[in-house]
């Protein structure tokens, strides 16, 4: 009995260890950042007063703390802090006028590339400027509000798990648009106002898990990979068939990258059979529809002919 318990615990431990190894890949840090992260990677930082040699300990302002693990797993992990921030920050204490340093925006570094389909940063900027985030006064929203440069991972160009893409992207919206933890929303707390507001959907939770907020709340532009023109709530899509139909909106938004990749790699038919995305009504086969209509017509025609002959022979 004891042996069984030990074997079970060992197996459980081995499983947990393996899982942990799978889920958190090793961090490869950039030594150039160690100096910055020695203070900004911690909740408390210390420095020595040059005059008195006294060591002073201070609490780091929350917004200036960088999650170093998240940083070294984010899209900007290869960058040194001073690639974006002034090199004067290497000097301590930081000069106060460095606070006036203008912050970069995405398009200061990111330019349009030949990716298929293209991200189109110019288009994203134009669309963003039309969105409620930009046009409403005092929202305080900038690129960084949604795309934290120290932790952001672009998920849109992922062919793997679409649900992870959805969960990640929706969590960005929920950071501001939810009064509660994002997991509570994603996993269905009935007390959530957000769910109450979406109860017109046949199954709000299923939708939250399978499509992004922007599918209904943003205007799609054909040449922009991810819609950034967030519309006022009154303009949100309320027509199910906008997504659940052959010409689904999802094909131009959530599934756009996958479809473009898979169709170029496998061809249209194979991409439909093997694609990982699925929503009712989006992928009916025109050929099967035609065959089914012909079979149905044959059944009706057979019945009609039989009826006529029966009447004639009466």
């Amino acid at each position: 009995m004891k042996l069984k318990t030990i074997v079970f615990l060992l197996a459980l431990f081995a499983g947990m260890t393996l899982q942990a190894q799978d889920s958190i890949p090793p961090v490869k840090s950039n030594p150039a950042n160690n100096h910055c992260f020695s203070c900004h990677g911690k909740r408390w930082y210390t420095y020595a007063n040059k005059d008195s040699s006294q060591v002073i300990k201070h609490k780091m302002f929350k917004d200036l703390i960088i999650d170093t693990v998240a940083y070294y797993h984010n899209n900007h992990k290869s960058l040194a802090c001073t690639d974006c921030h002034a090199s004067d920050y290497n000097n301590l204490p930081h000069k106060s006028d460095l606070k006036l340093e203008p912050l970069l925006v995405c398009t200061d570094c990111h330019t349009d590339t030949d990716d298929v389909p293209p991200i189109n940063f110019t288009g994203i900027t134009e669309e963003y400027k039309k969105s409620v985030h930009a046009t409403r006064k005092n929202t305080g929203v900038s690129c960084w509000s949604c795309h934290n440069p120290h932790s952001y991972n672009i998920t849109t160009r992922s062919k793997e798990n679409l649900n992870q893409v959805v969960a990640y992207d929706n969590s960005i919206c929920l950071e501001c648009h939810s009064g509660m933890g994002k997991f509570d929303i994603l996993y269905g707390d009935p007390k959530s106002n957000l769910i109450a507001k979406h109860k017109w959907l046949p199954d709000p939770i299923k939708h939250f898990r399978n499509v992004r907020c922007i599918e209904c709340h943003a205007e799609i532009r054909a040449d922009v990979l991810v819609a950034h023109n967030i519309r006022p709530k009154e303009e949100a899509i309320h027509n199910c068939a906008q997504c659940h139909s052959t010409d689904s909106r999802l094909k131009y938004s959530l599934y756009k990258y996958q479809l473009a990749q898979e169709r170029s790699e496998k061809g249209v038919l194979t991409s439909i059979i093997s694609s990982r995305d699925f929503a009712i009504g989006t992928n009916p086969s025109p050929l099967l529809n035609l065959i089914s209509l012909l079979v149905f017509a044959c059944a009706i025609g057979g019945v009609a002919i039989h009826t006529i002959i029966r009447i004639m022979k009466k």
Binding site: W200, L201, P202, K206, N239, C240, A241, Q242, H244, S245, T246, D247, I272, I273, S274, S275, R276, F278, I280, G281, N283, P284, S292, V295, F296, A299, I300, V303, H306, T307, I309, R310, K313
Partner: protein
Amino acid sequence: MSGKVYLYPIWIRLWHWLNALLCLVLIFSGISMHYASPDATRIRFDLAVTMHNISGILLTANYIIFFLGNLFTGNGRNYLIQFRGFRQRMWKQIYYYAFGVFKKEEAPFPIGSARKFNPLQQVTYAVVMYFMVPMIFITGWALLFPQVIVSEWLGINGFAATDFLHILGGFGVSIFLVIHLYFATMGKKPTDHYKAMISGYHDDESEHESENDSEKNHI
């Protein structure tokens, strides 16, 4: 005038008509979803989904009644196919529907207390009720709880495959419905079978049966 025989007890009639109603709702709401379009004037999508879900759940419950009823009453034996001589009996029935009925020939397998289904009905009902309908509600429940569906198998999208089987089954039932409604008019009078499924009583057509006695013993 032949005598009446009590062929359809109340539970079968209630099951049958509820099944018919649910199938109609499922077919129309299913077609509406399948051909959904933002501009179309069919059943509103969310309404169609709700109708389809509720009807599907009720259809499953109704099927359980059917299954248990067949298991614990004598009704189940009507679906048991006797394979000896079955092909000949089926061809005889097909010949009757294709030619005999126009020549005013007697039905080769008249309905009576000993036989409720002709061989063609027997095989069709068995396939529909023990293969097609279970396939529809199993795939339907899977689509209702998509997390149980294997997302990919041998490079095939599990959701798309489940949906395909569901629609295939639904299409099969739609075809069955058309043919069933028509063949239900093939009694002595076109309305005989319909009336029988309401009252439970059917003309005992087997009273004058003579030449088919040998086949009857195989049913």
